[in-house]
Symmetry: C2
Subunit: 324 residues, 2 copies
Amino acid sequence: MREQSQYLEIIQDSIKKISYPPHPKGLFEPIQYILQLGGKRIRPVLTLMSASLYQEDITDSIAPALGLEIFHNFTLLHDDLMDKAEMRRGKPTVHIKWDNNTAILSGDAMQIMAYQFVGRTPASVLPQVMELFSQTALEICEGQQYDMEFEKRDDVTIVEYLEMIRLKTAVLLGCALKMGAIIAGAPDSDAKLLYDFGENIGLAFQLKDDLLDVYGNPDLFGKNIGGDIYNNKKTYLLITALNQANESESQILRDWISKTDFDPQSKLKAVTALYDETGAKASCEEKMEYYFKLAMEALDKVDLDENRKSALRLLAKELMYREN
Amino acid sequence: MREQSQYLEIIQDSIKKISYPPHPKGLFEPIQYILQLGGKRIRPVLTLMSASLYQEDITDSIAPALGLEIFHNFTLLHDDLMDKAEMRRGKPTVHIKWDNNTAILSGDAMQIMAYQFVGRTPASVLPQVMELFSQTALEICEGQQYDMEFEKRDDVTIVEYLEMIRLKTAVLLGCALKMGAIIAGAPDSDAKLLYDFGENIGLAFQLKDDLLDVYGNPDLFGKNIGGDIYNNKKTYLLITALNQANESESQILRDWISKTDFDPQSKLKAVTALYDETGAKASCEEKMEYYFKLAMEALDKVDLDENRKSALRLLAKELMYREN
């Protein structure tokens, strides 16, 4: 079994080698741009790691793994457009660097390219892989729809929030692992357990993201700290704080939420203090640990020697205790 | 072999029976809306007709045929958004009835649904069908990109225009026919000839569309006559008129194009007269007949009894001599 960094290298190399049709440039340049902005490449790495549990030669999984990374970047491209986000990984987003129509159409083309790469799965498992991928892709759209609807609602519950991040983020990690397992000929029961492992890691990963956005180290975190707080984004922290606040805490929190003109640092400081005092931070950390534990339990049940599973266990820990 | 109308009925029934996830409504209602706006359903009908050339039972082709219709409607949804079109088939477009983000995300979900339906192709031919479909889908994006780029250019040539409509419109008709043929086990040579038949019919079909937009009977044509002329849309007619005009005709045509404030009926009348006088109309009709002839020649070569091919021949003629 290779090291995680070697899988990453395979993916980075393969992304560089993607050949784009030469014309029209206006369609394919934005795709190349967003795919080369970087990122952790977690999804395709998970696919390769999962496949390597069952097969020495993971060549068959590389194209489908790339398909998942292309699909993930397509969702970022269209989500940034819908959210009017101007920056992504320190660079202008596609609809800013080009324009809205370019973002729409290049995104559409990326979705097709994602299917082209997933479609290079060996024929014997193609129907199963296609069904898994389409199901997952549709769930991700559902997650984004809920995310947008939640922006306009004041009564989003924790259960609804968790279902939203499950759809928007977690299922693709589950899919990545299951896809590698299917392609490499894993037993169905293992493929399902690896899906559960990925889905729970995905939930923990997103809760970690919510925490980092508030409590991250500004020197290490890729984005500015406090973005969610400035935008009143309904994260696990905000929903829980509103639920658990006493009357006076609730009043202060609602005042900050309703202010349109505020000093960012003061708001960040005040809301962070409320996340601490109401126990929202502790609750979010607890929930994150809970999903991490569920993930580990799923991995425990995968019918392989413990030493084969250690790389996945390590990656999961790194994702949980990351600083960016 | 069934009549064309029976294939249409199968498709209409199947569209009605598509089951959508119950939630989130905001994602799936717009999809249901656009799929039920109607339309000729030419693409899925072509798939079924093509399959029926080689198989009595065309059940295997129904889901993939629906996938093509869903994909076609997805392109209409996103194209209408990019073109800021407010009406489609006499009803408000999705971004008008809902909003831009809904149009983006529901469109994305439709593209996935299209792949889900195409993915229900029998496993034995799934890799081939997936490759054909993805290749075609990407070409359609390329066609839309060229269409948008041409709006900003003044030097679009007839060759470029024909390549644009080939990509944007014709390849999907070719794909529809070839897909049915592949699924029904046609010889490769026939599948290719049926693609050529569809592609050439598609080119003739689009030139007919350009003609109808100017010369159509207002009582029969679904849209308002003259839309292309009011918007200076670079159609075969306009490009040819500019190429073939003498100095004074060219001056009049360019004057009309540059006017931002004009009486629509006067512009329609004047530009139509120029299309007649410069021979642009005759040239467009000639080109349309040329592609129709190429289509018929491809169909001639399909290795089947003439009586089996008569339904396709009839449909092609109806598309060419249609009034809407």
